[in-house]
């Protein structure tokens, strides 16, 4: 059980960005999708969340065996799918704390989204923030407005933990971080797995995978799955580079 992507072909405007892509992300596992820039990694994440403009031509996306293709983005999120974006946008006017409280209220069905319906929410927010080293001051700032690259990453990871999703999709959570930052992010991703969550980790570089060992690795190039394997595939990619990997597995 978990997330299943079945023979997915997706078009954005008149360009096919994913072609016949299949993958499973089971609970308690980390599935890594690697690929060069423009390989369709982020498109895969957007399509799973049902972003407007990502038209599914063929295939299916299932959560716990049930198709979610007809659900809107917010419904997919409420079913427990979370996306930590590679480059999350600034949202002027909305404080990070407000966003999280609204998001949590929505999950538990509290109609006044801005109301702190349960003091435990505040406690949880503070606890997780201090654990992952998110400055409290950031909670009172508008989401991503004037955040540094590192602060954005930390804020996305923070949300991925505090909102307790079943499926956490993390798109390049390590870009722009120094080695200590990467090590930390890796350990939180590992802890998501040990809590039984399904993690879909999208990354261009292998460096983060020195700190967190994936269960399955899929290499995506040009919108197609070119290779799949265990953790050893990460090192192969690192050694050979995407071009050689493509030639080796696709044979052209």
């Amino acid at each position: 059980m978990g997330l299943e992507v079945l023979n997915l072909t997706v078009r954005v405007k008149d360009k096919v960005v994913l072609r016949n892509v299949s993958l499973n992300v089971d609970y308690g596992t980390i599935h890594v999708v690697m690929g060069p820039n423009g390989s369709g990694k982020s498109s895969l994440a957007y399509t799973i969340l049902g972003r407007e403009g990502y038209e599914v031509l063929e295939g299916d996306i299932r959560l716990d065996g049930e198709s979610i293709l007809n659900l809107e983005t917010h419904e997919r999120a409420l079913r427990g799918i979370f996306l930590g974006m590679q480059d999350p946008p600034a949202i002027p006017g909305v404080k990070l704390s407000t966003l999280i409280i609204a998001s949590m209220n929505k999950r538990i069905g509290v109609s006044d989204l801005t109301k702190i319906s349960d003091p435990r929410i505040v406690k949880t927010i503070h606890k997780v923030a201090s654990e992952i080293g998110l400055p409290m001051e950031l909670l009172q700032r508008e989401v991503n407005v004037g955040f540094s690259g590192g602060e954005r990453k930390r804020s996305e990871l923070f949300q991925a933990i505090v909102l307790e999703p079943k499926i956490a999709i993390l798109d390049e959570p390590d870009s722009g971080l120094d080695i200590d930052g990467i090590r930390k992010v890796a350990s939180y991703i590992d802890s998501l797995r040990s809590k039984g969550r399904a993690v879909l980790l999208i990354t261009h570089y292998a460096r983060m995978l020195h700190f967190v060992k994936p269960d399955i690795v899929t290499v995506l190039i040009g919108g197609e799955v070119v290779a799949r394997g265990g953790p050893e595939l990460v090192f192969e990619v690192e050694e050979l580079g995407y071009e050689t990997i493509r030639k080796k597995y696709k044979g052209d």
Binding site: M85, T98, A102, K106, L113, T114
Partner: protein, 476 residues
């Protein structure tokens, strides 16, 4: 600017908070209703019904003369199509003024209950007056303030009690000769409050006045006068609302404020008329030496709004902070702008205008900063921020500076942002529906106002905004 909002366009069909709270208009009995051509006879009759002193009758008649003499102002678009003769210009409801909520007729009290006013009054207000249609129907000030000489009275009563005092300010801060609708207001004014805080008295809790229009095709012309003596302090909150009306109503109110030396006045308006009210409010105040006069306006409801809170910084070291947050959602026009006239030396003005345009709404900022020669070292800073939710909606900014003093510092910053697909997607991916995402952004914009308000109001405002952005349906 673009095409103005059509007055005759179908009545707004979306969800709106005022209607969610107050429902639809219910007919209330009126003792007196005056409509038709605005004549000398009509004005005299209003004056007679109100048992006014002669000087007031004369002032009304003089205003009427100017109403007919003055041209239609250029900054109004749409108002000219209102047929004033179609409106009931004076409605005396069949209620006597009371000091106890339970003495009000049940249907009327119900409106105030839905707005939560009796509760709020008990908890945190120093005084409260409510105007229903054209008359004040409830007025009370807490005893300890009465003992300190704080006056909170319907203006009509104040006129007979303190005529010489009122004469010095009434229609002097905002002369009726200024424009056609100021003159119309001078002729027809009815209802409103007189707040006076004697020298040295600091009123900690706010004093509120609430204005309700209960029927269609009505004109409401309330007048409020807020005065602080030397070193005094007061916050006055004015709230406005109306249920869903079957035809347009017209509001042409006026607020005059006078802050004497070293005193502080803060005027907070929460305007949530239903979207069948055309709202014009004339607001002006004068600040003496070292006095501060602040305006805070949350402009949420109405079909069209024309409001330009203005401060004349007459005294040295006087200052003003003017915050207007406006929402134009649906076929709505909000034309607002803060004004500051610097006369004294070392005077300061800070103006913040934030607007949100959604579903075809139009926001206009039309501000004026004037620094006269001799206003040495005056400082003025204007910040305008516009958020546009979709391609049908618009925002325009027309700042105007007139600086005749070489030592003055004037700055203006303007920002316009559009809600992008990726911003919306991001919020949706956090579990929020499109309208919820938008209401969160709007609430964020309202933060500047929230910090000026007691907690209870913040809750109400937050609820109101979430209702505003709920999915369409239910009406029309």
């Amino acid at each position: 600017m673009g095409k103005p909002v059509e007055l005759r366009e179908d009545i707004f069909k979306g969800t709106e908070a005022a209607v969610e709270l107050l429902g639809y208009e219910k007919p209330f009995k009126a003792q007196v209703e005056l409509k038709g051509r605005i004549t000398k006879d009509m004005i005299e009759e209003i004056s007679r019904i109100k048992k006014e002193p002669e000087w007031m009758t004369r002032l009304r008649l003089k205003s009427l003369e100017f109403f007919y003499k003055l041209p239609m102002p250029k900054w109004v678009t749409g108002i000219e199509s209102i047929d004033l003769e179609e409106l009931i210009l004076y409605v005396k409801p069949e209620v006597e003024m009371v000091k106890d909520w339970d003495d009000l007729p049940r249907d009327i009290k119900e409106y105030y209950d839905k707005l939560g006013l009796p509760e709020i009054e008990k908890k945190l207000l120093a005084g409260l007056t409510t105007v229903f249609e054209s008359e004040t129907i409830y007025a009370r000030v807490k005893k300890h303030l009465e003992e300190k000489g704080v006056i909170v009275l319907p203006l009509e009563i104040a006129i007979t009690k303190y005529p010489d005092f009122i004469k010095e300010y009434f229609l002097k801060i905002f002369p009726f000769t200024e424009h056609k609708f100021a003159a119309l207001h001078g002729a027809l004014w009815s209802g409103g409050v007189f707040v006076y805080v004697p020298p040295g008295v600091k009123v900690r809790e706010p004093i509120e006045s609430f204005f309700l229009i209960g029927r269609s095709a009505e004109g409401q012309f309330e007048h409020s006068l807020i005065i602080t003596g030397e070193g005094a302090e007061v916050t006055w909150i004015e709230g406005c609302s109306a249920p869903r009306l079957s035809k347009y109503s017209f509001h042409d109110g006026m607020v005059e404020a006078y802050a004497h030396k070293n005193s502080f006045i803060k005027i907070v308006t929460l305007q949530n008329w239903s979207k069948d009210v055309i709202n014009l409010n004339n607001k002006r105040g004068i600040a003496e030496d070292n006095a501060r006069l602040d305006w805070v306006e949350g402009s949420i409801g109405s079909k069209m709004t024309y409001v330009y809170p203005s401060t004349i910084l007459k005294g040295d070291y006087s200052s003003t902070r003017n915050t207007v947050i406006q929402l134009a959602k649906g076929p709505v026009l909000k034309d607002t702008g803060s004004k500051a006239i610097h006369v004294g030396r070392m005077t300061k003005s800070k103006i913040i205008n934030k607007s949100i345009s959604a579903d075809g709404g139009i926001n206009v900022y039309r501000g004026i900063i004037r620094i006269v020669r001799g206003a040495k070292n005056a400082i003025s800073n204007v910040e305008c921020e516009a958020m546009i939710f979709d391609s049908r909606s618009r925002a325009h900014t027309y700042p105007h500076n007139q600086v005749d003093e070489i030592t003055a510092t004037v700055s203006h910053e303007a920002r316009t942002g559009r809600l992008s697909d990726v911003q919306l997607f991001y919020l949706q991916s956090r579990g929020l529906e499109e309208d919820e995402a938008k209401s969160l952004i709007v609430l964020g914009f309202l933060d500047e106002i929230m910090i000026e308000l007691p907690f209870e109001y913040v809750n109400i405002l937050s609820k109101v905004m979430q209702l505003e952005f709920k999915k369409l349906g239910g009406y029309g």
